[in-house]
Amino acid sequence: MAGDLIVALDGVAFGLLLYCVAAGLSLSLGVAGVFQLSHGALYLAGACLAWWFAAQGTWLGFVVALLVGLATGAAAGGGLAELLRHVPDHLDQALVTIGAGLILVEVLTSGYGAQARTVLPPPGLDGAVTLLGRAYPVYRLTIIAVAAVLSAALHLTVERSRPGVLVRAVAADPRHVATLGVEPRRVHLAVMMAGGALAVFAGVLGAPILGPAPGLDTTVLTLSLIIIVAGGLGSMRGALLAALIVGQVHTSVAVAWPTAAPFLLAALLLVGLAWRTHHHLITARVA
């Protein structure tokens, strides 16, 4: 029983980490209208940065990795935003981001050597605490705390602040916002930069539990796609709920019954879809 709870806690950590990635993806798509399929590659880039700068678990290396991660993520997101400004079609955007992702992953893979690598947590966070009579790694609790703070900050920014009002307004009606003197393009750029930074940051943060490995990029991309589709495009709360469920499925279920995990994720996706589209049909506007 206690073991189950410990695994469940792992699920929360992974779920919140995924939420950070998925939130960026959701904002890119919902606000900037950019179909971003290189998010998984950005996450992998974060994991690689952690491995390069802080594989042995030093604070200096870890902080450098986080800062470099934030900067490169923002730069990558901003660069994509500028590039894709001239590529309005989602299918073409998919081609561009798949291509960019392939190249990035290939470069990263030759860097870390195409095998699963471990990254140690920084000193002080590498120990364990006793939780429900079992040893539990401190670093996972740290991830939960940091990701929870990050998620809350993201939520508050979008829901309460003036930038958040701008973001929501641009997502719903960029023409109206433009007539009020705000360049929707700038908002798009900011959102894409934030999305990229979040993905790489999450990669660095998660590296001590999920180091660079082949296939990590597609796993993270798929899980975040499931989260935003099942949670409903543009719904931050739905995404958070979906992220926590996906986190549980990916850890608890995967431990108990490995084959079932992908089926459960598929079921989550399809049920989410069915519920959403049903809802959508009911509220559909008369054309």
Binding site: A169, A172, V177, A178, T179, L180, G181, V182, E183, V286
Partner: protein
């Protein structure tokens, strides 16, 4: 032919808090030519959509030939004998004209369906266009093609939503010819802004007003209820316009030269020239489809004009500026039909505009704007929402103010205050441009009224 083709009972439709249709009862006799008229936002398109099955009503029933079809999807109603056209012609661009029609001929092998389609096209004088992709047809031809497609299934009920929108007078005449040949076995329901078309087609007319069924009767009787464009010439300008001699001396604040614009292949505006002077309220009247909203969108920087156009504000060329740059340069626009942004509060909306609640509330003397800061905009009524947007725009006190159909959904007293407020803005040397349908109550306060038709402005 007697009997009821369509029986609409207590039909109500709401989007959020806005009631678009309010308990409408309507009977359409079999074989009749029934027109639905009313101002913008009166609910005409929504009513047609609910009859055709493009959506489900909030409340009420629709019967077709005695059968309750309220819960039937669009295609089932089509199978029962309904057919329709849209305001913007819905044709399949990727297929030829023949195949567009052939697809609508049901329960027939494709080969004979195509033969039937060619026959229909020949009869309509479009035989040469048969093998062209619909995407390559001119706008007027697309209209006719859509009508032929709708007729190809030999419907018992044909619903035409604004068939003349965007057509030249000559094209309307051609379309009218097509509509008049529709067999008597087909019941016809039509909305249109062209009263000439309504008079030529309809034997019964229903007037919708604010989502309610106001009146049904003989065309001449109902159309007399409508405030027509002709009344305008009688409405005196209350305030003396800037005299022509002074105008030469006063420089126009907002200036538009040689403006051409298109919607796809449809040429909407032709070499249009317009000057809006400080201290003056200029009104442009035009029906839907006349290019009125296109003009506003072009001024706002949201729709492309052809290359040779020039737009300037206070002598500064804005032709290549983005919408946001124009707004910052002092050109404030209120677009028609701006939908509330879900989740935003009244205070958020004011923050977005960059105005403080007091000024906005004072603009139309609506204290609730300052008091109800925490209310979500999607829970405002349509009129309140519109008042909020207009109040925000007024509070910006910009050099030029462009309002497209600003009174839509507004309560009468608010319209009166808007009239005063526009005069105050004009007194502050703001150049005010109103664009409306010919029946707008604000027209009385305009210093100059211009009519937009055939893509250009004429003195009204």
């Amino acid at each position: 032919m007697t009997g009821i083709a369509v029986d609409v009972h207590g039909l109500t439709h709401r989007y959020g808090n806005a009631t678009v249709l309010d308990a409408v009862d309507l009977r359409i006799a079999s074989g009749s030519r029934h027109a639905i008229v009313g101002a913008n936002g009166a609910g005409k398109t929504t009513l047609l959509g609910l009859i055709a099955g493009s959506g489900r009503p909030t409340d009420g029933r629709v019967r077709f030939d005695g059968r309750d079809v309220t819960d039937l999807p669009h295609h089932r109603r089509a199978q029962l004998g309904m057919s329709r056209t849209w305001q913007r012609p819905a044709v399949i661009d990727t297929l030829t004209a023949v195949d567009n029609i052939a697809l609508a001929v049901r329960r027939t092998p494709l080969r004979s369906a195509r033969r039937a389609a060619i026959h229909l096209l020949d009869q309509a004088g479009l035989g040469r266009a048969g093998n062209m992709l619909a995407a390559h047809l001119a706008y007027g031809q697309r209209r006719i093609l859509e009508l032929l497609t709708a007729l190809a299934s030999e419907p018992r009920l044909l619903i035409l939503d604004e068939p003349s929108a965007g057509l030249s007078e000559q094209e309307v005449a051609g379309l009218l010819g097509q509509i008049l040949t529709v067999s008597d076995a087909t019941t016809l329901v039509v909305t249109d802004h062209s009263m000439a078309l309504i008079e030529a087609v309809a034997d019964v007319v229903t007037l919708l007003d604010g989502g309610r069924h106001a009146h049904t009767g003989e065309p001449s009787a109902v159309l007399a209820h409508l405030p027509s464009a002709g009344d305008l010439s009688a409405s005196p300008a209350v305030h003396a316009p800037v005299a022509v001699t002074t105008r030469e001396a006063v420089r126009a604040r907002l200036q538009v030269r040689s403006l051409d614009a298109s919607h796809g292949r449809h040429h909407v505006l032709r070499a249009l020239t317009l000057s809006v002077y400080p201290g003056e309220i200029t009104a442009i009247i035009g029906s839907d489809g006349s290019g009125r909203s296109t003009l506003v969108n072009i001024l706002a920087g949201l729709h492309p004009a052809h290359r040779n156009a020039r737009i300037s504000l206070d002598g500064v060329d804005l032709t290549c500026s983005s919408a946001a740059q124009r707004a910052r340069a002092g050109l404030t626009t209120v677009l028609q039909g701006t939908l509330p942004i879900p989740g935003l509060t009244v205070a958020d909306e004011l923050r977005l505009c960059g105005t403080d609640p007091r000024t906005a509330a004072d603009a139309l003397a609506l204290p609730w704007i300052a008091a109800r800061g925490r209310q979500r905009v999607e829970t405002l009524s349509g009129g309140e929402r519109q008042s909020l947007l207009v109040a925000c725009a007024l509070a910006r006190r910009s050099a030029a103010l462009v309002l497209d159909e600003p009174t839509e959904g507004m309560a009468g007293p608010v319209v009166d205050r808007l009239r005063d407020s526009l005069r105050r803005s004009a007194a502050r040397q703001t150049a005010v441009l109103l664009t409306t349908t010919p029946s707008n109550p604000l027209l009385g306060t305009a210093d100059r009224v211009l009519r937009l038709s055939n893509g250009n402005l004429h003195d009204a």
